[in-house]
């Protein structure tokens, strides 16, 4: 049967729906109109979605291919930078760790290093080693956390159980060291709060072997699971050049083939005295972003073992601070600053100037710029840029050109953590 073709025009109303205003879409009105008139459409992902913390992504789709992705962050913007200007230098330690609570020790470490740099405070070697042990524990914890969330995104609840089940050991180790499961606030200017008992260190040492074994098992269950591989391989690809241009950091930058790790490039604490490698991948896809972090867990375990073996004896509070403790108390305070914490640190006023520190947090570069005016005992300005905030732009770029159903895999692979990004 032959049908004659003819053009039919259907009258589609192109007035914008009224919801566009009430949804507070942070995109220009003419873009909505343009999409409305063409054969594309807008899809809003979030704010409530299965990720950790909330953000909205506004997708412009053609068919089911993503043409453009516009982020709408700020659902967890809690004004850390402003609040820091009303608190003492030491009071800010619990504040700056809140944005990335799963790796609180690293957040403290970066901030405290800025204080130490401005105030020229010294840190004894034992405290440096303890900081490294805590940082690496946090890093492992955070990568396991991201593994769990990635598994949730992929609908693989066993992966979630494994990630968080293993994290329980990390949390336990932190609790034994510091008394707090998650928010440790253990790193203070010029040292750490108290010395850690050798038994605890031995426990941590033994635990690393257990975790290593379990990471291998996790490999068969989740990491190398054919479903995981086929959903994540070759999606969300960014080339090396794009990664740099859009400013990816940390493991996500290394997954594009750039060998940059702040612990190697601008070494702090005792990272230059330990032997470890920087895992790098060349593919730049979602799967390599995940694999690099799994490999990093092994490296961190390695670092912890070395640090526990090599840790020197000695005080954990620096000599400049100790000089202000009465001599008969010094021996005790050098091992445990309790009772003297406020007396020594509350009046801490830093000389005028600015210190910028780069720290390698689990998800990448963590930058603090601390400006002190020389008179106040609160920061004049604290600039804090967290890895997820750097990674937001490359994350959006990596969505473009892929299909809507790839979004969960790509989102999970970036380990994007909104509380961290919004601060």
């Amino acid at each position: 049967m032959v049908m004659s073709e003819r053009e039919v025009s259907i009258n589609v109303p192109v007035e914008l729906p009224t919801e566009v205003k009430s949804l507070f879409l942070p995109i220009p009105k003419n873009m909505v109109e343009e999409v409305y008139r063409s054969d594309e459409y807008l899809v809003l992902i979030g704010p409530a979605h299965p990720g950790s913390g909330h953000m909205r992504i506004i997708l412009r789709l053609k068919g089911d291919y993503i043409v453009e992705a516009i982020p709408d962050p700020g659902y967890v913007h809690r004004a850390v930078e402003k609040l820091a200007e009303t608190r003492l230098f030491v009071h800010n330690i619990p504040l700056v760790e809140r944005p990335t609570i799963a790796e609180s020790s690293i957040m403290d470490h970066g901030y405290v290093r800025a204080i130490e740099e401005l105030g020229q405070l010294d840190v004894p070697p034992r405290a440096q080693y303890l900081r490294v042990i805590m940082d690496e524990l946090s890093r492992i914890g955070d990568h396991l956390y991201d593994t769990g969330i990635l598994a949730v995104f992929l609908g693989h609840s066993t992966g979630y159980m494994w990630g968080f089940g293993l994290r329980e050991f990390i949390v336990d180790a932190l609790a034994r060291m510091t008394g707090a499961r998650i928010t440790v606030s253990f790193v203070i200017p010029s040292g750490v709060r108290w010395d850690v008992h050798p038994d605890t260190l031995r426990y941590i040492y033994n635990m690393t072997f257990f975790i290593e074994k379990k990471i291998d098992e996790l490999g068969t269950i989740f990491t190398k699971n054919p479903v995981t591989v086929s959903r994540m391989k070759s999606v969300g690809v960014l080339t090396k050049d794009e990664c740099i241009r859009f400013g990816a950091v940390g493991p996500f930058l290394r997954a594009c083939g750039v060998e940059y790790d702040n612990r190697k490039v601008r070494p702090y604490a005792v990272y230059d005295q330990l032997e470890w490698e920087v895992p790098v991948a060349d593919e730049g896809d979602a799967y390599s972003r995940f694999l690099v972090r799994v490999e990093e867990i092994r490296q961190s375990l390695n670092i912890i073992r070395q640090a526990v073996k090599n840790i020197p004896e000695g005080p954990v509070i620096g000599s400049k601070l100790m000089a202000r403790v009465p001599p008969k108390e010094r021996e005790r305070v050098a091992k445990d600053i309790r009772n003297y914490l406020f007396r020594l640190l509350i009046g801490l006023t830093l000389p005028e100037g600015e210190a910028t520190t780069l720290t390698e947090a689990a998800r990448g570069t963590l930058l603090y710029s601390l400006v002190s005016d020389g008179k106040s005992n609160v920061p004049y300005r604290l600039r804090m840029i967290t890895p997820s905030w750097y990674n937001l732009r490359p994350f959006m770029e990596s969505l473009k050109g892929y299909r809507l159903m790839d979004l969960p895999a790509i989102y999970g692979s970036w380990g994007y953590f909104p509380p961290e990004a919004d601060r």
Binding site: H49, S52, H54, K82, I101, G353, K375, P419
Partner: protein, 373 residues
């Protein structure tokens, strides 16, 4: 809202005013009690401990507590920490979408009074948004505490008295020997921003020797000519260049880009309110040039506060885009050339203040005395 399990599982025939129960009360409450399914609504960092509650370590599913994604299939919300102004709308929408009977557990000190963020301009209290059935304290609360709150909600469903199921150990404070009076430590908060005219951010450290840095500094001085007010090696791997105006930024950034500084680490604004200027700070770094990898190049210049206009650099460094938009949001610095200027990014449209990070906007501060015991 006192609508708990039992009395909502019924149909009311309005015309004759008879309630028809779908299930006997005891069955209904028993069923509801062991199927508290919370919506997945991680409002902030307490979500980490919430995730542990459902993970193998604590396994709250033993009490029938199982997180589910969409609010339409759930009957509980656990508010996991801080609720920001932007999130408050979402919480409200999610709550309204849930079918009855529904319960709210507010988790963390942030949800009660703001916790660490009590004086933030972007944080609201949960009790102002949705009715709360159980509170969990802590920052973050431990999974055990969350489970206790679940037990409290279960008691509420059964119509029992809702009370904490652990009793804190008590002792009589009046019998304590009074401590010897404590001297408060030296002045807790000394905020003297009013006195600050200028901050010397470019102070070089004493005796720094770094040849590459000196070479770079000389290079910048010669290419930018009199546009450079001051160029010094601040520390090893740390250069600091001060330009005389915002107009020179493009030139400086372009020459840095040619040298191999291929990404922006930070854009920052320091508000020098008494001098009437914003001090802009650009920190550049390099990934591709091995020699420059550890180097931080910091560029400073001042722009007047009342007419803060700065050329955008997103054509060279697309990665700086979101930082520029953020600083517009927080300080109101206009980056000329960035197409998104003038729209909110991080902040909620209803935030009571515009440009909250400017110094003239003061938030309450804990200036009280901290007494040590």
């Amino acid at each position: 809202m006192g609508d708990t399990g039992v009395n909502t599982l019924k149909i009311t025939l309005k015309s004759i005013g008879i309630d028809i129960k779908l299930l006997p009360d005891s069955w209904a409450s028993w069923g509801t009690k062991f199927s508290i399914w919370p919506a997945h609504l991680v409002t902030a960092c307490c979500g980490v401990e919430f995730a542990h509650t459902s993970a193998p370590g604590y396994d709250a599913e033993r009490w029938g507590f199982l997180p589910i994604f969409g609010p339409r299939q759930t009957n509980a919300i656990v508010i996991e920490g801080t609720v920001t102004r932007k999130m408050a709308k979402v919480v409200k929408v999610a709550y309204e979408q849930m079918p009855y009977p529904k319960f709210v557990i507010a988790m963390g000190s942030c949800a009660m009074e703001g916790g660490v963020f009590w004086n933030s301009y972007h944080v609201v209290r949960v009790s102002d948004i949705v009715p709360v059935d159980a509170w969990v304290m802590g920052c973050p609360p431990t999974p055990e505490a969350v489970i206790r709150a679940i037990r409290m909600v279960q008691d509420k469903i059964e119509g029992k008295e809702v009370k904490p199921n652990i009793r804190p150990s008590q002792f009589d404070l009046t019998k304590l020997k009074p401590d010897k009076p404590q001297r408060p430590p030296n002045p807790p908060h000394r905020i003297e921003f009013e006195l600050i005219k200028d901050i010397n951010v470019c102070k070089p450290m004493p005796n720094v020797k770094w040849e590459l840095g000196q070479k770079l500094v000389d290079g910048f001085k010669s290419t930018l000519g009199n546009g450079v007010k001051n160029a010094v090696v601040r520390n090893v791997n740390d250069l600091c260049i001060t330009l005389d105006s915002a107009g020179r930024l493009r030139e400086a950034v372009e020459s840095a880009f040619k040298l191999g500084f291929d990404h922006v680490k930070s854009i920052n604004v320091i508000d020098l309110i008494n001098a009437g200027v914003f001090r802009m700070e650009y920190v550049l770094g390099s990934y591709m040039n091995k020699e420059l990898m550890p180097v931080l190049l910091t560029i400073y210049f001042d722009v007047p506060r009342d007419e803060a206009k700065v050329p955008s650099i997103i054509d060279l460094y697309p990665g700086a885009d979101y930082q520029e938009r953020e600083l517009y949001d927080l300080f109101g610095v206009w980056f000329e050339g960035n197409p998104w200027m003038g729209s909110n990014f991080l902040l909620d449209p209803d935030t009571p203040v515009k440009y909250p990070l400017r110094k003239e906007y003061r938030i309450p501060s804990l200036k009280g005395v901290v007494v040590e015991r």
